[in-house]
Symmetry: C2
Subunit: 94 residues, 2 copies
Amino acid sequence: MPDEELLYDLADLFKVFSDTTRIKILYALFDTPRSVNDIAETIGATQSAVSHQLRILKQARLVRFDRDGRSLIYSLADDHVHTMLAQGMTHICE
Amino acid sequence: MPDEELLYDLADLFKVFSDTTRIKILYALFDTPRSVNDIAETIGATQSAVSHQLRILKQARLVRFDRDGRSLIYSLADDHVHTMLAQGMTHICE
DNA sequence: TGATTATATGAACGCATGCTCATATGTCAA
DNA sequence: TTGACATATGAGCATGCGTTCATATAATCA
């Protein structure tokens, strides 16, 4: 049985993936870096809602961003995110 | 971009993993099938709380059970669950 | 600098969710 | 069948969370 705190962290990680808006954001960035407004249009959500969720995704280190002029271009942090999504999707599609 | 409904299902799957009690249950069953009361003692939770969460884990097909006398012996449904947990843990520990 | 565009943030509201407590259901043993 | 044990379930409560709305911060361009 892993350490109590580790289990909390694990639950917290999965919690980040447990919201549809965040899942949509992650898929929007799956192979294309995008600005906040671009994400919002792509997934059909408010700029504010997207920004709030990006904050959570940033804290969990699932996304990163670079500045381009006045825009912030977000992308998936690393390949682990692809793997997590793919793993979950595999389980669903059985 | 995957189908809208698929994204909901994916979020729902992750949601099941996103609670500490359920994570503890899954780890308690990681390599040892256990009865409900055994689980409750192992993770330090109420029988009722465990039963409620087992219901959710069953619906998500993450656990299964066999009857042994008056006890129900729960175990992880398949190897996918191990993989999901391991994948998440790997991400945490980097 | 001032205006405009892009993003972030805070408060408030509504909804979902996990727990406890009490009780129901179900199974076995005598 | 009755009593005891094992698990499930329902109601009610408290907490957490995602959205919207309004506004703040930040950066670029004229």
